[in-house]
Structure formats: structure tokens, C-alpha cells
């Protein structure tokens, strides 16, 4: 057991670093710097670069388009992309429905959907939560009734992230209202351009349009778009949630976040000294680094277990809880660091507006990001639910 990178790993690190430097889209970098909201095309620009290189889905098995990287190489990859401030790829296709399809799908479904997820041709969204079914997801009421070789779907989903751009959505629907809650649910792939699908924006506290309500009214979905067996969709749902939870730890991005907080606190003045030299502020950053290191090594141990054949299990709830709390703490310290300039509400440059925004660049989005990041302890199964999972599944209580 050791922590060293092999010469091959170091060579890989150099290769990755050079690739990012040469290929990360410059326009995207400029928008990130200005704190502008990113468009669908912005997200896809980096996705396509990686798709062409064959690096878009490192976690996938090689036969479906994965990279075949070792856990160490994947670790290097996430470190390097975070270090270079690369945007996070949309997870709905790559990290969520993709693994469900290659794990539970038919050969036809794999051939039809997986290549388009990799290429970025299809943008996916997730139809899980409903207004009445959040933490209690299995109580969902969106109904799918069989009609020949179609299902007719009616219901409402909510918190559907980036559905405004989506070509396809994966939906949990109730196909058997008689069965016990978890046993009457099916996993359907829905073409978002189908008649009867309506997407309505929900605006969040920072002013962002990320999430949506999705209404389904007599939407006809071919039976061939069902993944796995009818009424057995909960199996796919649970598999996906466990997958979502591990990615959610966001260790590499949070490490980069710590560097950024330090840089901001080095630029901000606290009397004659920079804020980072204020022992009280400095200590808070250090405590965050401490927690982050504990999370990092917990994740590395978990990944080592996964590569030894143990899939992500209920302990991934730990990663979700600590990862999300650290992400929130980072935004909190950033807002504290920027002082008065947390107050101005800056929403990116309007068309033709070149006037410099108020205060330093790093302060523009500090408050909206803090507000928005409260979502991390709520989504992907709230942290209360994660603690229930640990209590029940890990501790046997």
C-alpha cells in the first residue's frame, strides 16, 4: 500500500494537463471568468472535445466507450480537470442514465442510446421527484397505462434540472397502482419532444434557471423505451441513486474551491494585512481542508473497494453528506471573505453591456452561489434521507 504515482501515472498526468491546456474551449473559459450563465452550447463545447478524444466517460466499461483507466488515472483526471477549472459535464446522460442503460438495457437499447450520450447528441434530464414525492420518492404518482405497444403517461415531475435543453428524459412512472409502492414502478425513456410534454421554469434564489417542472399529458411512449422489466424500475432507480451519490462528493472541485477561497482571502484586505492572515478566518479555511482531506481519503478507500468488485453501496451516503456540506461551507467562506461586495446583485453582462460590474470579479456571484448551493444537501436524496440510509443499511438500526 502506498500513495505514489508510478512513472506511467506521471506521464499520464502530463498528457492530461497538456491536453486540457490545448483543447479547453477559450470562449468557455472567458464566460466562466466573467461569471456569466452558461448556455447549452457552452456545456456541449467541452463535452464534444472530450467525446472526440474518447475521454468523455472514464467511468464506463471499455466495451461501451469507457477509457479503461485505472482508479489512479481516474483520480488524476478529476484532479487535473478541477485544477484547470474545467466545467463539470452534465451528469444526466453520462453518470446517470448511461450506466442504467448499459447495466439493465437490451442490446438494441444500448446501441441506440449509448453512442448518442457519448457524442453529446442527446441531452438528458431526470424525471424522478414529484411535487408530492420528494424524500418519499417511491410514493410517486405519475401514471403509465399500457395501450398496445405504447404507454400513455400522465403526471407531473419537478426539480428537473436543465430540462429546458433536454432531448430525452428518464422517468420513474407507476405502471401498477395495485402493487406495493416500490414494486409498481417502471423506468421509461421519454422523448422530450413528444406531444404532451411541457417544461416550465422554476427560478432559484440566485436568479438561475436550472430546474423545471415537467408536465406529462397523455404522452405516448413506445414500450421499447422501457428499461428492464415492467414494475421493476425501482431496481434501476436505486442503482442510479447510489451512482449519483458517489459523484456528488466533488472532492477535486472542492480542493480547487479551497485554493480559490485562499486566493480571495489573500486579495481582500483586513486592515493592513490580507484577510487570509487573520487567524480566525485562516483557521476556518484550515478546518475545511481537514474535513476535505478526510473526505478525500474516505472516497479513495471506497473507490479501492469498488475496483475490487464491491459496487457503490450504502456507504456512498457518507460521501454525499460530507461532500455536500463541504461544498456549502466553501460558498459560505467565500461570501464572508468578500465583505460588502457580497451584496450587489450581478447577473452577468447583458447584450452590449460592457460596463464593469461592481466590486472585484470574484465577488459577483458569491452570494447567489451561496444561496444556490443550499441545494446540495437537498438534492440526490436529502442529507436526512442519507442518514436514514446509513442508519438502516449500514448500521442495521
Amino acid at each position: 500500500m502506498h500513495l505514489d504515482f508510478s512513472p506511467e501515472d506521471l506521464a499520464f498526468q502530463r498528457e492530461v494537463r497538456a491536453f486540457i491546456a490545448e483543447n479547453y474551449p477559450a470562449a468557455l473559459r472567458a464566460k466562466q471568468k466573467d461569471g456569466d450563465e452558461l448556455s447549452k452550447e457552452d456545456f456541449l463545447s467541452w463535452h464534444r472535445v472530450l467525446a472526440r478524444k474518447g475521454w468523455v466517460a472514464p467511468a464506463w466499461p471499455v466495451e461501451y466507450g469507457g477509457t479503461g483507466w485505472s482508479p489512479t488515472q481516474r483520480y488524476i483526471w478529476s484532479e487535473e480537470t478541477a485544477r484547470a477549472d474545467c466545467i463539470r459535464l452534465m451528469p444526466f446522460g453520462l453518470a446517470m442514465v448511461g450506466p442504467v442503460i448499459y447495466t439493465f438495457g437490451t442490446p438494441e437499447q444500448k446501441a441506440r442510446f449509448l453512442p448518442r450520450i457519448l457524442s453529446g447528441e442527446d441531452w438528458w434530464c431526470q424525471g424522478y421527484s414529484e411535487p408530492g414525492s420528494g424524500s418519499d420518492l417511491a410514493s410517486l404518482r405519475t401514471r403509465a397505462v399500457r395501450d398496445g405497444d405504447h404507454y400513455v403517461v400522465n403526471g407531473q415531475k419537478t426539480w428537473t434540472t436543465m430540462a429546458q435543453y433536454a432531448d430525452w428524459g428518464f422517468f420513474l412512472v407507476r405502471t401498477n397502482p395495485e402493487a406495493k409502492q416500490q414494486e409498481g414502478i417502471s423506468f421509461l425513456l421519454v422523448d422530450m419532444k413528444s406531444p404532451g410534454v411541457t417544461v416550465r421554469p422554476i427560478i432559484t434564489l440566485g436568479g438561475e434557471h436550472e430546474v423545471n417542472e415537467v408536465w406529462l399529458e397523455d404522452v405516448r411512449v413506445p414500450v421499447e423505451n422501457r428499461i428492464y422489466e415492467e414494475d421493476k424500475g425501482w431496481t434501476c432507480a436505486k442503482f442510479l441513486l447510489a451512482h449519483e451519490r458517489t459523484g456528488i462528493a466533488g472532492v477535486a472541485a472542492s480542493k480547487r474551491g479551497v485554493e480559490k477561497v485562499k486566493a480571495i482571502a489573500a486579495a481582500e484586505l483586513d486592515g493592513e494585512r490580507p484577510l487570509i492572515a487573520n487567524p480566525f478566518f485562516r483557521r476556518k479555511v484550515t478546518e475545511l481542508e481537514m474535513d476535505l482531506t478526510a473526505l478525500e481519503f474516505t472516497e479513495l478507500r471506497s473507490l479501492a473497494g469498488a475496483s475490487a468488485g464491491k459496487g457503490p453501496g450504502p456507504e456512498s451516503s457518507l460521501l454525499k453528506i460530507k461532500g455536500s456540506e463541504i461544498q456549502q461551507r466553501l460558498t459560505e467562506l467565500t461570501l464572508e471573505a468578500v465583505g460588502h461586495y457580497g451584496a450587489p446583485y450581478f447577473r452577468g453582462f447583458g447584450e452590449g453591456d460592457n460596463e464593469h460590474p461592481i466590486g472585484p470579479d470574484y465577488a459577483h456571484r458569491a452570494a447567489p452561489t451561496y444561496f444556490n448551493t443550499r441545494k446540495t444537501t437537498i438534492y440526490g436524496g436529502s442529507n436526512e434521507i442519507q442518514r436514514n440510509i446509513i442508519a438502516k443499511m449500514v448500521l442495521g438500526l
Partner: protein, 374 residues
């Protein structure tokens, strides 16, 4: 010792609460924010003329109701309950506080104008480099004949776009962080050379960056008292936003309590889950302590400076910590809906968050307390 309010104080609270219940629900507030000027000036006029309560903390000789900081506390707590975007803090608490100390012709002219709802004052004290140090000033007021010439930049001046007057801190001497040489001026907001960039703030207010480009101001704009007076005014303002936080926190708690009673998951109202019951109990504890600290600090505002500052710092540090806890947990307990613009709860959270840092973070005030009591 007596913690009871007078009949007049109870009446002041009831009058304001009833008015705000009629005029300031969440939907009405949303419409105010959407107006081009970012507020409904009719509300301020109504507070002045229909209710006649903008005079609450002013002496009767100026047409006021003869109250003091306790009246400001009552007003701010009620305004906090509706997350009001009215310039009461800036105009009455801070501007009015300065005028009371200034006395003379300036007070005789402007206090009645405040009470009548005609004068709105914004407090231009913060600077980009200064953080929470009130003496860290680059803005200068250079003596020039009988008057002064004002030059410099002020950061995030709340209510400035609405203001008829500006209360400005500037150096008449001394080096950048020296206490000596700090002076306070009350000037017309529209003097030549006063340049503003206006913008909304994340908590629903309007604010400005203000650039003083060699602004000629009259000699009688100076309010004597220097840094000591500025500190006194900011301590009074700090206690006013602690009172506001009390109103904000109470609504965050009540709103969350309502929500967990009606929101059902797993077949029961989620308020039945013990983990949420304990959280609501913890929030309740913090809400009560915010109210206690708001009162404690307010009652000590007239003590000698060192005692006053220590009390205010302890109060503000505790309020900052507590409003953080209450706000974060209110949002968390609401789940996704707590993060949307659609529900009031998120807007209370935003105002509560900005109160945390306003006039000094918890760290700043704990530090100030330790220095004063070492």
C-alpha cells in the same frame, strides 16, 4: 429592572404591524421590487402621513413621538417580519441619529422633513478597501474657504438611489486608518460631482457605488463628533439590524413550522419526524436568543463607549451566528421549494444572510469584544 413595554410602545408596534399586514404581503413586496425604482414610495409616505410613526425616536420639539432606541427596535423588528425594503434604518436610525447629535439649524430643518417622509438619507461609510473598519477611509474632505471639497469612493451604499441626502464619512486629516481626522458630513445627494452607479442588492434593496468627484460642500455640512460619533451611530444601526433579524428569524421559524405541519411524506406530516422536531426546537432556541440579544444591546446603547461597544459586539456576533443557523435550517427543512424565488422563505433567508455581515461579521465583533475586555 423592567422589561415591559409602555402602552405607547405597544401601540406603535400594533399600528405598524397592522399596516404592514395590509400592505406588505409577499406578493405585494414582489411587485414593489419589480418597479423601476425598486420600491413603492407610497409606503414610506403612508408611514409618515397616514400612520405618523416616522417620528417615533425623535423629540417632541421636532414633531416626534419622544421615543428612543427602543422605538427603533420595535419598528425594525416589525419591518423585519415582512422583509421590508424601506429606508428606515438609513434615514431614521442612522440619519436621524446623526441629526439628533448635530442639533441646531440642520436638525430643525431636516428632522421634520424625515418625519414628514420627505427626506430620505443614505449612509455612505464603507469603502472598497475598508472592510468593517470605520476609520479605514481614503475619501477626503479638504478644507476650501468656508467649505470642503469631497473626493473618493463609497461602496455599497444602501438606499442611495432613493436618497435626498447623504451622510458621508471622510478624512479631514490623518492617515488612512487613523481615528484622528475622521469627520461626518450631511450633504445634499444631488450636488454637482456626486456620481452614482445604482444596482439592486441580493436581499431586495437598491444600493449604489458613489464617486465624489471634487464635490464642493458647505462648511455647515460638518457634524461634530468624529470617529466617536460614527461608532455610536453604527452601534445603534447594528442593534437596529439585530432587531430586524429578530423579525426575520421569527418568520423563518414560523414559516417552517407551518410547512412541516402540512407537508406529508411517508404518509405523515414531516413534523412527526423526531429529527425535524429537534431541529425546530433548536431553531426556536436561536430565535429567542436573537430577540434577547437585540434587547440587551439596545438597552445598553447609552452606556459609556467601551461598555456599549462590548455589548453591541456580543449581540451582533450572536445574532449573526443564530440567523445563519435559523436561515440555513429553514431552507433545508423546506427542501427544494426553499431554494426557489416562489416562496417567501428563501427571501427571508437572503435578508438574514446579508444581516450576518452588515456592520461587521461575527469574527469582527468577537474580536472587537475581546480587545475591549482584555
Amino acid at each position: 429592572m423592567d422589561f415591559s413595554f409602555t402602552e405607547t410602545q405597544d401601540m406603535l408596534r400594533d399600528t405598524l404591524a397592522r399596516f404592514l399586514a395590509d400592505t406588505y404581503d409577499f406578493e405585494a413586496r414582489k411587485k414593489m421590487l419589480a418597479r423601476p425604482e425598486g420600491r413603492d414610495p407610497g409606503i414610506w409616505k403612508a408611514l409618515a402621513n397616514e400612520l405618523g410613526i416616522l417620528g417615533a425616536p425623535f423629540a417632541e420639539e421636532h414633531g416626534g413621538l419622544g421615543g428612543s432606541a427602543l422605538e427603533n427596535m420595535i419598528m425594525m423588528e416589525e419591518l423585519g417580519k415582512v422583509i421590508a425594503i424601506e429606508p428606515y434604518l438609513q434615514t431614521v436610525v442612522i440619519g436621524g441619529g446623526a441629526l439628533k447629535r448635530a442639533g441646531g439649524a440642520m436638525a430643525d430643518a431636516l428632522i421634520p422633513a424625515i418625519i414628514a417622509g420627505e427626506a430620505v438619507i443614505a449612509f455612505a461609510y464603507a469603502e472598497p478597501q475598508g472592510r468593517y473598519d470605520l476609520a479605514n477611509l481614503r475619501t477626503t474632505a479638504r478644507a476650501d474657504g468656508a467649505g470642503y471639497v469631497l473626493s473618493g469612493q463609497k461602496a455599497v451604499v444602501y438606499a442611495a438611489p432613493w436618497a435626498s441626502h447623504l451622510l458621508v464619512t471622510a478624512r479631514t486629516g490623518g492617515s488612512q486608518r487613523e481615528r484622528e481626522g475622521v469627520a461626518l458630513f450631511l450633504i445634499d445627494a444631488n450636488l454637482p460631482g456626486v456620481v452614482r452607479r445604482d444596482y439592486p442588492t441580493v436581499d431586495g434593496f437598491m444600493a449604489s457605488e458613489i464617486y465624489f468627484e471634487n464635490v464642493a460642500i458647505p462648511g455647515d455640512a460638518l457634524i461634530a463628533g468624529g470617529i466617536d460619533l460614527v461608532e455610536q451611530l453604527v452601534d445603534e444601526a447594528t442593534m437596529a439590524i439585530c432587531a430586524e433579524a429578530s423579525g426575520v428569524a421569527r418568520r423563518l421559524h414560523e414559516g417552517t413550522l407551518d410547512y412541516i405541519r402540512q407537508r406529508k411524506q411517508f404518509g405523515v406530516p414531516i413534523g412527526k419526524f423526531q429529527v425535524l422536531q429537534h431541529r425546530m426546537a433548536d431553531m426556536f432556541i436561536e430565535v429567542e436568543q436573537i430577540a434577547s440579544m437585540a434587547l440587551m444591546g439596545t438597552l445598553k446603547l447609552d452606556l459609556p463607549a467601551a461598555e456599549r461597544k462590548a455589548a453591541v459586539s456580543l449581540a451582533k456576533a450572536k445574532v449573526a451566528r443564530s440567523i445563519n443557523f435559523v436561515g440555513q435550517n429553514a431552507v433545508q427543512t423546506h427542501g427544494g421549494i426553499g431554494i426557489t424565488q416562489e416562496l417567501a422563505i428563501g427571501h427571508y433567508f437572503k435578508r438574514g444572510t446579508m444581516i450576518e455581515g452588515q456592520f461587521g461579521s461575527a469574527d469582527f465583533h468577537l474580536d472587537r469584544f475581546e480587545q475591549l475586555t482584555a
